[in-house]
């Protein structure tokens, strides 16, 4: 594993897909610390590092805020809408844009360092591993580019759109595709190691734990595959499609369904530990900490559950989410909503 400071895969904050900052909170936030109303809706997740919150917006901007005060640090303006969650890697913040490029922006100055063309609008989040940026695009290309400079190392073309953020290990990179397959490519060459065919598109981003790759599909099933071979270990049936990426903690894997439930399954065998009551539709990833799970629903609710029992701990009704996940720290809870408001709550 590379230096983690250079390897902050943004989805859920870290390569372990646990969010990295998921503090346990038995009580909901009770006080607004600050809020920022952005120029358009927010589809992506905010990320937090070194007391700076980064968030992209459909108005084409990457915003940065002081996490304590909400004071705006700097704003970078891209030439098209941004749906991609930013990824922090060393001194860079990277994100995909509807102009078809990955933008690498200096974290201190907010200036563009480089752009790397990917051929189609990019809604996935770039994944950085060992000096290489991996990302898929809406036109079905999957690209590996140098973290320094953005030079494209290799590109593969697939028949489905790629919304799934890649999970990168040594030696494979895993991602889902709109053609229904979960793919494992050799990270160094792009050569296919294996692929697993589900019954519908795989929009969610896979998690990796204990030699398993975990991901849900629009075919209503959640899958656990052998990471080396792609062999099916177990699968779990839900009643609607799954676009929510899984989070892993304490031997459980958590994900939301379009049926509105949050599911908690045993990583080892896929047995259901609990499921929440339905909140109608969930497409965003949950955030899983040691004792609590958090999720934002499409219709406005943010919920927290006891990770072991599924008992609801608290809820807030601030605005819906498509792919945004709350950031939960000891000091604050940060929630970005589809209506375009970023909240810092205490």
């Amino acid at each position: 594993m590379a230096d983690k400071s250079l390897n902050w895969i943004t989805l859920l904050g870290g390569n372990d897909r646990r969010g990295g900052t998921a503090a346990a909170r038995s009580k909901g936030p009770e006080e607004l610390v600050w809020k920022a109303t952005l120029g358009e809706s927010i589809r992506s997740s905010p990320v937090l590092s070194e007391r700076v919150v980064y968030v992209t917006c459909r108005d084409g901007r990457l915003y940065t805020f002081d996490s304590s005060t909400g004071r705006e640090r700097w704003t970078y303006e891209a030439p098209a809408a941004v749906h991609s969650t930013p990824a922090l890697s060393g001194d860079l913040v990277l994100f995909g844009c509807d102009d078809g490029a990955v933008h690498a922006v200096d974290r201190s100055s907010g200036r563009l360092r480089w752009k790397s063309e990917a051929g189609g609008a990019i809604w996935a989040s770039p994944a950085v591993h060992d000096g290489v940026v991996y990302v898929g695009s809406m036109n079905g290309t999957f690209t590996a580019a140098d973290r320094l400079g953005g030079r494209v190392r290799w590109t593969r073309q697939f028949e489905g759109r790629i919304f799934s953020t890649a999970y990168v290990t040594d030696p494979l990179v895993y991602f889902g595709c709109g053609d229904g397959r979960l793919r494992a490519l050799e990270a160094s060459t792009g050569k296919e190691a294996w692929s697993f065919t589900t019954g519908e598109g795989v929009l969610a981003s896979p998690a990796f734990v204990d030699g398993l790759v975990l991901v849900g599909s629009e075919d209503h099933l959640f899958y656990a595959l052998d990471a080396a071979s792609g062999a099916l270990r177990w699968k779990f049936q839900t009643s609607m499609g799954i676009a929510s990426s899984p989070a892993v903690a304490g031997g459980s894997v958590f994900f939301g369904g379009k049926d509105g439930h949050v599911y908690a399954l045993n990583v080892a065998d896929g047995v259901e530990r609990w499921r929440s009551e339905s909140i109608r539709s969930i497409t965003a990833p949950p955030l899983a900490g040691a004792t609590a799970v958090y999720v934002q629903g499409f219709y406005g609710l943010t919920l927290s559950f006891d990770a072991a029992s599924g008992r609801e701990l608290w809820r807030a009704n601030l605005g819906g989410s498509l792919q945004s996940t709350p950031i939960v720290t000891e000091e604050a809870v940060y929630i970005a909503t589809y209506p375009g408001v970023l909240y810092a709550l205490r």
Partner: protein, 387 residues
């Protein structure tokens, strides 16, 4: 530029077209009058425009295997689309049927219905099958646009991700790129203007996808009850999904969906460019629409309806939903009993309650505006059992 005024005179139950002065029946009496000013580009009538090549013809295609493990089955949907298009057009192959309406240079907009829970929106399997059929007659993916008013509803139902690369998926609330040009959602020069309930913004603008980008539209509504308009079929899906600022036409318990839906569909770009309607009834909804939170109100109809005449298709849809409501003991969609009015929560709990006096008469009004056939005796209803 075409400028017309429609005056809905409720005391007389008539809708008058100002330009021609032809009285048209309205759905019900007892409301204030509604004046609708329309501004739209002048367009020559097209034989493909509503009611299209086959006025009054409706093909109802049923396939017992249309749902497998709770999901629309792509092979079954393919059979239904192929057989349905052959039956609609009378051609010996589906490709020949599609070629009656589409050619390779067309830019085709697909109007889906993404409003509601996952099982009650236009199936991805149907959208993909329509795309495949258009590809087969030479229309490339770059000439295809999937659209609706709400980009978040499109995304939560995964249209963005599950259609083939190259197809544009457009929420009209967003801006999007066409080559080097950036387009907005609505055309400021094409609108319907009316004051329904004293609202501040009295104009509803038509989508630029309809006015400028596409030269043909395929309408892919769902077979679904609607708590205001009675059903959300071809006409409602087109009108309220292509014009903005339409929620203002209903304020509990009244709704002006009749005649607004019908008048909007008669506006030249929408009327002229809408050449085919395929209604997704793989699952259908008899109450609580359009969002239909309660799964008890959803049934597995395993059906697609095909037509070029949206009025005829909607009339058949209306009969299907009415039949289902009779089976479960729910009041008719034409019900005017104030005791059956209720809150949104009550409406989602029981099929006996509804928020509005529904206006399924918008379908008849559309007929009177020349968009198709309302009378059942004039509808050529062909039933196919495919598998």
């Amino acid at each position: 530029m075409d400028r017309r005024t429609f005056i809905y005179t409720t005391a007389l139950g008539t809708l008058q077209v100002g330009l021609l002065g032809v009285p048209v029946r309205g759905a019900q009496a007892g409301r204030n009058s509604l004046r609708i000013n329309v501004q739209a580009p002048s367009m020559p009538p097209s034989p493909l425009g509503m009611p299209g090549l086959f006025p009054g013809r409706v093909v109802e295609a049923f396939h017992s295997q249309a749902l497998v493990n709770g999901r629309a089955s792509p092979p079954a949907v393919r059979d239904m689309v192929d057989q349905g298009m052959k039956a609609l057009t009378g051609e010996s192959t589906a490709a020949d049927g599609w070629a009656r309406m589409f050619e390779p240079s067309d830019v085709v907009a697909l109007k889906v219905n993404p409003s509601g829970t996952h099982p009650t929106v236009t199936s991805i399997a149907l959208v993909r099958e329509v795309i495949r059929s258009l590809n087969a007659v030479g229309v490339p993916n770059r000439n295809l646009i999937v659209y609706d008013r709400n980009s978040n509803q499109l995304e939560v139902n995964s249209y963005h991700a599950l259609v083939p690369p190259g197809v544009r998926v457009v929420g009209l609330d967003r801006r999007w790129a066409v080559g080097a040009d950036t387009r907005g959602g609505y055309d400021p020069d094409v609108f319907c203007e009316m004051d329904c309930f004293g609202e501040r913004e009295t104009r509803s603008y038509l989508a630029t996808v309809v006015v400028r980008d596409a030269n043909k539209i395929i309408n892919l509504p769902t077979l679904k009850e609607h708590n205001a308009s009675g059903v959300t079929g071809c006409l409602k899906n087109l009108a309220y999904g292509s014009f903005n600022n339409v929620g203002r036409t209903h304020v509990f318990p009244k709704t002006f969906t009749d005649p607004v839906i019908s008048v909007m569909c008669s506006v030249a770009p929408l009327r002229t460019k809408s050449v085919l309607h395929i209604m997704d009834g793989i699952r259908a909804v008899y109450h609580g629409g359009p969002f239909s939170w309660n799964p008890e109100f959803v049934w597995e109809a395993r059906t697609l309806l095909f037509g070029t005449d949206p009025v005829a298709v909607d009339r058949i849809e209306l009969e299907i939903v009415e039949q289902k409501r009779r089976e479960v003991g729910a009041p008719s969609l034409w019900d005017r009993n104030p005791a059956n009015l209720g809150t949104s929560a009550e409406m989602q709990q029981t099929a006996q309650k509804n928020r509005f006096y529904r206006e399924p008469g918008h379908i008849r009004t559309a007929s009177e505006l020349g968009l198709g056939f309302w009378e059942l005796e004039r509808i050529d209803h062909r039933r196919l059992r495919i598998g």
